[in-house]
């Protein structure tokens, strides 16, 4: 179907079902129960899941296929966001021009940065991209403040021109009148599920991007990228110049990042410079490795995993802990809280770090390898059978 192999088709269908049913899947606990703390099915977080999914899918096209580790991908995310917000400011709140421009500008920046950075490989390439991203961050944070509004972040003001805006149109981002914020809440007994317009738009775009990524992975172009990862020297000796291929991969993944940035701005019309900081670049590397670099679904899983921790675990404070352990005697309650305390709330970084270590040590192929191991257990096969698949996912040095 759609020019895909059977295996890829079923993967695409599974992802489609998962994203379309996400409001149900992510809200498994009744709204009033104590476990509701772990529900992730509210519009903002669901949007983030798919937007960062797009970001990570794009990053994986570069990192997973060519092995070039870009440490500055967040720059494209930021550039995409700024482009989109500028379109809101100048043209109006319809998100199409913004998303369009964000893909174009980030593609151009990727061409420029890639052209320079790809003259080197390995660690030198990583450092070059990191330097460019930090430069963009510094520029956006202070030097280019008239363009980016600096620390405060670029916002839309009532005094902005918004040439195509009329009073009949909603005063928040919309797609031909469909507000991105609008949410339809389904109350089913104790459960409540949110269906958000913005989420479904992002999810559809992510499915499209996922499909394109599959096609790239299975194309001759993708094969060439894998060849670059496997042995670039040998490729050179066969008379092929790998640079156009890596540059194309870099620009494509930059455009993915720009699209993600544009969508972020469309869901929440503010572009902050922190979006470009090196920590944000590092985050997408973590997402990809955590999920499984070089696999199709891995980066999306990794993105979901990290965003879940960032948004859910960081909100568990001592008061919540006291509610959980209230049934225990005082001494034991305080003892347990003292143990759990460093790992939740502001300590969510610590928990995430430990999980990351565990996954990298025990599942070098990321969450995808974990899934494969479990699946093969169920099928009654030995884990050995997965060895070829696993080696496929090992990231390049």
């Amino acid at each position: 179907m759609l020019g895909l192999e059977k295996k890829d088709t079923s993967l695409l269908i599974i992802v489609a079902i998962l994203t379309m049913c996400a409001p149900f899947i992510l809200n498994p606990f009744p709204a009033d129960s104590a476990m509701a703390q772990f529900n992730a099915g509210y519009p903002d977080l669901m949007q983030r899941f798919v937007i960062f999914g797009i970001f990570a899918i794009g990053f994986n096209i570069l990192f997973g296929l060519t092995g070039y580790l870009s440490f500055g991908h967040a720059a494209f995310l930021g550039i995409g966001s700024y482009s989109a917000v500028w379109m809101f400011k100048l043209l109006g709140y319809n998100i199409l021009p913004g998303i369009f421009l964000s893909v174009i500008t980030s593609g151009l920046f990727a061409l420029l940065i890639g052209y320079i950075s790809l003259r080197r490989s390995g660690i030198y390439f990583s450092i070059l991209t990191l330097a460019f991203a930090q430069m963009s961050f510094a520029l956006a944070y202070s030097v280019l403040t008239p363009l980016t509004n600096g620390e405060t972040g670029l916002q839309v003001y009532n005094s902005d021109p918004q040439y195509f805006h009329s009073d009949a149109m909603p005063n928040i981002p919309h797609l031909f009148g469909q507000e991105m914020q609008s949410t339809y809440t389904l109350d089913a007994g104790a459960w409540s599920f949110d269906f958000n317009t913005g989420y479904y738009l992002c999810a559809l775009i992510m499915l499209g991007m996922f499909y394109i990524a599959i096609r790239i992975f299975r194309s001759p172009f993708g094969l060439m990228l894998k060849a670059i990862k496997t042995n670039q020297t040998r490729l050179n000796y066969t008379g092929l110049n790998p640079r156009p291929y890596t540059l194309a991969a870099f620009v494509i993944s930059g455009m993915y990042a720009g699209l993600a940035g544009g969508l972020m701005a469309s869901m929440d019309p503010l572009a902050g410079a922190e979006r470009m900081q090196w920590t944000a670049s590092g985050e997408v590397v973590l997402m990809t490795i955590l999920g499984g670099a070089g696999t199709l679904i891995g980066p999306v899983l990794g993105a979901g995993f990290i965003k879940y921790f960032e948004n859910i675990f960081s909100k568990i404070n001592d008061t919540v802990l006291h509610q959980w352990f209230a049934f225990l005697p005082d001494g034991i309650e305080d003892f347990l809280i003292a143990i759990v305390h460093p790992f939740v709330g502001k300590g969510w970084h610590l928990t995430l770090g430990l999980m990351f270590m565990a996954i990298v040590i025990f599942l070098p192929g990321g969450l995808v390898e974990g899934g494969q191991k479990i699946a093969s257990k169920f099928r009654g096969k030995k884990a050995k059978d997965d060895a070829p698949a696993a080696s496929d996912t090992t990231p390049a040095e």
Binding site: A138, Y141, S142, G150, E151, T152, S182, T183, L270, N317
Partner: protein
């Protein structure tokens, strides 16, 4: 005996059927929602009301964030009738009963802003969308405050700003749903200028080192305007990148510039580092133009003074509030904070506590949690007994006007908290400005948004 078929399978079946039957759709972006509920977003339906405390728990301002959170917890305890009531007893408005807000028990959720606009907005959004928070408060930097204020305006909840000192928060970025109790750069300058004039004279040349972002600029602009108005000259203004940790290359040129006052428009860790460099370069022992070289830090906080240690002695600055104030409100607050946590509160804690009280009081007086009702109750509200003397929430820009403290690093601190001494309490009239003052021009409040 009735035949109650209460097996697991039976329960599942029934609940599935009940779920199907109860699957009554509600839309909360339009009039349908407004009809079904009280006409505003997140209207509390049960016996509780949820407030969202959005503070930096990691990043450069984590210390301030931790202190803010302590103050919020104390405020919630007092609102629910626990503890000794703190400033509720000294507050000039007596609407609060100690039974929560409008009879509803106050609950809260917390989030980590990471001192990043993006993360702060994500965290605020989850409070609004997931936890049903009716009000968001907090923030330890102006960038975050402006970003979250914008979000609250769009979403339709009230934002009570925490520590934010930039003119923009209630200037060009002011919003109808946002309120600031903290003072701002202009007020710092207006309060400091007369004191500097009295101590250092009118024939001075200032050299500015300024953190290169919005807050730094507005602060520098304010100080320059205020000092030039009394006869000072400005030798130079050098912008320092926010991530700078070694300021020696910025401090060295100061000596040859002919300036005899160094103004450090830095905050937090930046200020600690720049002040330390300046002192290490021996600036304070220098004589320029026959006068002693002086250093001024326009915005002070106790946590910063602690970081800079010995170096702050004798250095002037301004602050919103200090725990050594002896009015009834401050004493009550310091007492209940100290009893709960064992040390005195910072100015960040104070402003956050006060903002929570003001919100609760406004809800009581308005008789509703509707953001528009609360905004109306807060606009032009005059009060006393919350530690700053007589204070007014100006209706035109949602900025509190009150006295400003000019402080000096204490020469002989008696404890690790006793680092600043109050030099002068500049009366409100001196720090007040017109709504359309050029430093605050450009924005408009817009209309209050109840979110439904």
């Amino acid at each position: 005996m009735s035949n109650s078929n209460f097996t697991r399978r039976g329960l599942l079946k029934t609940s599935a059927m009940a779920g199907g039957a109860l699957a009554m759709p509600t839309i909360y972006d339009g009039s349908v929602w407004a009809d079904a509920h009280a006409g505003y977003l997140n209207a509390p339906t049960g016996s509780t009301v949820t407030l969202g405390f959005n503070v930096p728990q990691s990043g450069p301002y984590a210390d301030e964030g931790a202190d803010e959170l302590r103050a919020y917890e104390l405020a919630v305890e007092h609102l629910n009738g626990g503890g000794d009531g703190g400033m509720m007893n000294t507050f000039s408005s007596k609407a609060l009963q100690g039974n929560g807000i409008l009879g509803k028990k106050v609950e809260f959720v917390t989030g980590d802003t990471q001192t990043k606009s993006d993360a702060a907005r994500a965290s605020a959004k989850s409070m609004i969308e997931k936890d049903g928070a009716i009000m968001i408060t907090g923030g330890s930097s102006s960038g975050v405050a402006v970003a979250v204020q914008g979000l609250c305006q769009e979403a339709g909840v009230i934002f009570m700003a925490g520590l934010t000192h930039s003119n923009d928060t209630t200037g060009k970025d002011k919003k109808a749903n946002g309120f600031r109790h903290f003072f701002n750069g202009y007020m710092s300058a207006a309060a400091l200028a007369p004191v500097l004039k009295a101590r250092y004279g009118t024939d001075r040349t200032a050299y500015h080192l300024t953190a290169d972002y919005t807050w730094g600029w507005t602060q520098q602009e304010s100080i320059q305007a205020a000092t030039e108005a009394m006869g000072w000259k400005t030798a130079n203004n050098v912008l320092t990148p926010l991530a700078t940790t070694d300021f020696s290359s910025y401090v060295a040129p100061v000596l040859n510039s002919g300036a005899d006052v160094l103004v450090l428009n830095h905050y937090g860790g930046n200020m600690v580092n720049s002040l330390t460099s300046a002192v290490q370069f021996g600036l304070r022992e220098k004589q320029v133009n026959g006068k002693n070289f002086e250093i001024v830090v326009p915005l002070y906080s106790r946590l910063m003074a602690k970081g800079a240690g010995e170096n702050v002695k004798g250095i002037f600055g301004s602050t919103n509030w200090h725990w050594s104030l002896t009015d009834e409100g401050s004493k009550a607050f310091v007492k209940s904070f100290g009893e709960k946590y064992g040390f005195p509160p910072s100015q960040a804690a104070h402003t956050c506590y006060v903002q929570t009280m003001l919100y609760a009081d406004a809800a009581e007086r308005a008789g509703t949690f509707n953001p528009c009702g609360i905004a109306e109750a807060l606009e032009g509200f005059k009060f006393d007994g919350l530690g700053n003397g007589e204070t007014e929430y100006r209706a035109e820009d949602h900025q509190c006007f009150k006295d400003v403290l000019v402080v000096k690093g204490k020469d002989n601190p008696t404890s690790e908290f006793d680092l600043l001494e109050i030099v002068e309490i500049t009366p409100r009239a001196q720090v007040e400005y017109a709504v359309d003052h050029p430093m605050f021009a450009g924005g408009e409040l817009g209309k209050c948004n109840p979110g439904a």
